[in-house]
């Protein structure tokens, strides 16, 4: 088992390396640089700026320098916000995005699987139909429709919730309700359908038939025999789900004006702020890679055919 974990862990670094390298060169390949403004700056000033940020060096040297900096934990200065460096922005905004994303993921998994279980046990009853219709809606309606619509009804018309802001502000934790619901909705919905289908399939399997033939109670069968196998697809889906949540958070943060990492992502791309953009990409990638790693481990833990082979 430990060999399995170690093997997977080592595999993380190449992927991260590829992502960093790819992003670095793609970003630099784009037309326009970080200091192109509408009014062209005089050449001497441009030269000074480039020298200061090492932009006049050959690309490979810049790349090498960048990798070394990363290893030291320094993500570099921000080109568009000269007063602070990238680490500053990231440390201030990352926690908010992480909280938002984790809660959303948690809801998506727990509530999603719960609904899926209930649906499967009450298959083809009104409970099932309502839950699955709701799930279809959750999957089909895009995030950026759900968010504003929720905001329109709950905040603007009914005044039950504030339209924006973050937990530490004047409204407290209530502000987190709409963003989290919006962000988790499609993944909760997908999980509900996935776990329902998976449970139903396992319920039809031969080994559940054996369990029934041995005289076990349905509840015991469900929790002891069915869940372990049925949850495997859900665990597999966690990786892509989290990736989706990360991407979705960019939009959700914009709609609900949450000061998370997402706001820097698009803006930095527009501004050609290389370091800030790279910084956010790296942070997101690391989070994603770690998440995939955890998922792999959990999957191996659940399925003895993988870890005991």
């Amino acid at each position: 088992m430990t060999k399995f974990v170690i093997r997977r862990f080592i595999g993380l670094f190449p992927t991260l390396f590829v992502i960093i390298t790819l992003s670095f060169f793609i970003v630099r390949a784009a037309p326009g640089g970080p200091f192109d403004r509408e009014k062209r700056l005089p050449p001497e000033i441009m030269r000074n700026i480039e020298k200061k940020y090492n932009l006049d060096e050959p690309l490979l040297m810049q790349y090498g320098r960048y990798i070394l900096d990363i290893l030291r934990g320094d993500l570099g200065p921000s080109f568009s916000y000269p007063d602070h460096d990238v680490n500053y922005f990231i440390f201030n905004s990352l926690p908010k995005s992480l909280i938002l994303g984790s809660i959303a993921l948690g809801i998506a998994v727990i509530v999603g699987v719960g609904v899926g279980m209930i649906s499967s046990v009450r298959q083809n009853t009104w409970v099932d139909y309502t839950a699955m219709s709701f799930a279809v809606m959750g999957i089909t309606i895009p995030l950026f429709v759900v968010g504003p619509v929720l905001m329109y009804f709950l905040a603007l018309r009914l005044n039950w919730l504030p339209t924006s802001g973050w937990v530490t502000g004047q409204h407290g934790w209530v502000t987190i309700i709409m963003p989290v619901v919006t962000l988790s909705l499609p993944y909760f919905a997908y999980n509900a359908r996935l776990s329902r289908a998976s449970i139903l399939e396992v319920l039809r399997s031969d080994y559940v038939r054996t369990a029934r033939a041995k005289g076990l109670r349905e509840i015991v069968i469900m929790f002891k025999h069915v869940l372990k196998g049925a949850l495997l697809p859900v665990v597999s889906y966690l990786g892509p789900a989290f990736a989706g949540i990360i991407t979705g958070s960019v939009v959700v943060e914009r709609i609900f004006r949450i000061p998370g990492l997402g706001q820097f992502f698009v803006q930095a791309a527009f501004n050609r702020d290389y370091t800030l953009l790279m910084g956010t990409v790296i942070v997101y990638s690391v989070i994603l890679i770690i998440m995939n790693f955890i998922v792999d481990i959990v999957y191996g833990f659940l399925d003895p055919r993988i870890s005991y082979s």
């Binding site: 054996t210 029934r212 041995k214 005289g215 372990k228 003895p304 055919r305």
Partner: protein, 326 residues
């Protein structure tokens, strides 16, 4: 075999409600099983043999399927009338079933010990340690080497034949009155098949368990069973002791089946025999003899009504050919 009557099934009917119509999977079968006896339930795929036994254990999935009528008397009591909790006591306890495919019949995510212990504790009320010991004993009984260590393994760590032995061990661990074996050897290699059947026979003698062996393979039946029921399209068409059946098959279908077995001991180069035609669709089956389109002896009456059970030479056949000999 004049021992006590363990299981008596009378006029069992199980129908399935499908989109295309009602499938009469089991349409009025009856048989008797005595203590220590091995009964062979033989027929083609889809003739209803598995469904019959699943019905006895009330394991038929109930939205499409329903046991319409009939009785299954286990030691004098009709278990088809039992409520759910009482039936669960029977399953695994008094009547055990093992299935065709050992690869998929064991839960791949749980250890063997877990799966065996739960049955033992459920039906025999032992504590964990006693139950585990019993499990190890059963594994030893079916010939699993090094059972003390192997009991904690996962199913995928066993080969196909071993897995089926585990299934047998699990099924017999609570000393049931009846063991139903649904094609236990079909999914295994030929060499392993014989071993598995041997074990079943041995243990049934040792533990006094009555066995219902479901199969489509006449060769299997010949070696193992005391008596045989031949099924076709949801009904039992012939019942006989094993020797009687092989030496003198009465029903044209049985005759066809026996003729179809390729023989090395017959002289000359003969064409392989097969029964012409195909088994009928079980939906909207009219009440005529369902075998008559494939039967070389078909008469007018065969096309009009399904033959009742006729007694011939101390056995029973459902065929109009035997009408006079009542």
């Amino acid at each position: 075999m004049n021992s006590e009557l363990v299981l008596k099934v009378e006029d069992l009917r199980t129908y399935f409600n499908t989109d295309d119509g009602i499938v009469k999977a089991v349409d009025g079968i009856s048989f008797e099983l005595h203590k220590g006896e091995t009964l062979g339930l033989v027929g083609e795929s889809g003739c209803g043999k598995s469904v019959s036994c699943l019905s006895v254990m009330k394991l038929i999935p109930s939205p499409p399927g329903r046991i319409m009528s009939g009785q299954a008397m286990l030691q004098g009591k009709n278990i088809l009338d039992y409520p759910v909790d009482k039936i669960r006591q029977i399953r695994g306890g008094k009547v055990s079933m093992i299935f065709q495919d050992p690869m998929t019949s064991l839960n791949p995510f749980l250890r063997i010990s877990t799966q065996m212990i739960e049955t033992i504790r459920l039906h025999q009320g032992l504590d964990k340690i006693q139950a585990k010991d019993k499990a190890i004993d059963m594994l030893r009984l079916v010939g699993i080497p090094n059972p003390v260590k192997r009991v904690d393994d996962y199913p995928h760590q066993f080969s196909g034949g071993m897995r089926q032995r585990v299934m047998i061990a699990m099924a017999l661990s609570c000393n049931p009155e009846v063991l139903i074996a649904d094609e236990p050897s079909t999914a295994l290699d030929v060499t392993i098949q014989a071993q598995i059947l041997e074990i079943i026979k041995e243990l049934s003698v040792k533990l006094g368990t009555a066995v219902i062996l479901i199969t489509h393979d006449l060769g299997v039946v010949a070696g193992m069973c005391d008596k045989i029921c031949v099924m076709y399209a949801g009904k039992i068409v012939e019942k006989a002791k094993v020797d009687e059946l092989y030496n003198d098959p009465k029903h044209p279908y049985t005759q066809g089946l026996i003729k179809s077995v390729p023989r090395l001991d017959k002289p000359g180069k003969q064409r392989l025999y097969s029964i012409e035609g195909q088994p009928p669709n079980l939906i909207d089956l009219p009440d005529v003899c369902s075998f008559h389109p494939r039967c070389e002896y078909a008469m007018d009456i065969c096309r009009q009504k399904y033959p009742p059970e006729f007694s011939v030479d101390g056995r029973s056949v459902r065929c109009w050919l035997y009408k006079e000999e009542k």
